[in-house]
Symmetry: C2
Subunit: 224 residues, 2 copies
């Protein structure tokens, strides 16, 4: 007789759902390989897990044809995302971590806190609406939709304000930090090379050169 924590036998299953939700917003259905890369495991491991998640009713799984979340799976995934972002806020707001550290620290223990601890962290941080990287703290599916456009889509002369920054690559986040790119910051595009070349921009009245990859991980709202 093994003790089962809540609905899930394992915390990893929630992680899978979280990543499926994320990948699903880019392209659906989600491919095994894409999920394997996101989870940092071998594709065969993903296949095994997909069978389990499917059996439990969290995903629609057609072998060789990818997967989508069921209503139940989506609900669980959103709960996982919400929790992750609340824990990130707690780490930055209450323990003084930098925003680029928060993501990884949160991953380490977010699965193991109770709903009550999550609720209290949320309240103690004054019910924040976004995580340190600018993503909404969701209650439902609609809340998970990323607003804004990629920084790279702007043309020279345009001015924008940073809404959110992709949070899953700590090194990149640290680099963004050194460039002064954070939610809320104003960016003016000076120049842009065609064919995925770097772009030039003014951040906090300093001239910066920003690579294609990085500029596509920053979401902005156009100001003019």
């Amino acid at each position: 007789m093994t003790v089962t924590k809540g609905v899930f036998n394992s915390d990893h299953q929630r992680d899978y759902l979280k990543h499926i939700l994320h990948l699903q917003q880019v392209s659906s259905p989600v491919a095994t390989t894409a999920l394997a890369e996101a989870m940092g495991v071998a594709p065969s491991s993903v296949t095994d897990m997909l069978k389990k998640l499917s059996r439990k009713g969290y995903i629609n799984y057609r072998p060789y044809h990818g997967i989508t979340l069921t209503g139940e799976g989506e609900k669980e995934a959103i709960k996982a995302v919400r929790r992750h972002r609340i824990v990130e806020r707690f780490l930055t707001d209450m323990l003084g971590f930098e925003w680029h550290e928060a993501h990884e620290e949160a991953l380490a223990f977010e699965h193991n806190i109770s709903d009550e601890v999550e609720r209290r962290m949320y309240v103690a941080c004054n019910k924040p609406t976004v995580c340190p990287h600018g993503y909404p703290i969701p209650s439902s599916v609609e809340d998970t939709i990323v607003s804004g456009v990629p920084l790279y889509s702007l043309e020279p002369g345009q001015i924008a304000r940073v809404v959110s920054v992709e949070d899953d690559e700590p090194d990149l986040l640290r680099f963004m930090d050194s460039l002064g790119i954070k939610p809320g910051v104003r960016i003016k595009v000076d120049g842009k090379d065609p064919f995925k070349g770097p772009m030039q921009a003014e951040i906090d009245s300093k001239k910066r050169t920003i690579g294609w990859h990085l500029a596509n991980q920053v979401y902005v709202d156009k100001v003019s």
Copy 2:
């Protein structure tokens, strides 16, 4: 190739060491059955784990003759105890949990936080010296020694102050709470029955009856 977190493959191993340290302070060497009961698993499961811990050098294990911690094992156990008590403090001080809730909530996620999160919790709580139940937050072995005497050892007429309260039975803790027994509280013994009967005491100028079991889980310093 499995990813190993730090020194341990599993968080459970640290839990074993923590409980061995605790039991060792009552009687050494520690028996398999005692450890099994403390961990809430079958004795055979303990035997398996003892082999692993022994192979790794954390315990001295002589089959059929019990176990003791090695220097390395003691170091790890103390780290685990320290972390547990810091997390408890964090839960009561920063998230407003009751002291009888803190123990279980801490158990849920204490294994998964990084050393840095632990350090910051410690600092954010103003470097506390004791946990919510009155036990010291240890840096070395000496710090783990429980001071005071069991409440039950007092004689009628004596007055004492509560130092610490056994923390591993939430129901009992809740009951202590309802009696007003907490670290720092003053207790005056009014009467005491022989042969493990209940004792009468005055807590916060209210007359109380306290059972033998409970009175032995409360440690006090004699005032007069």
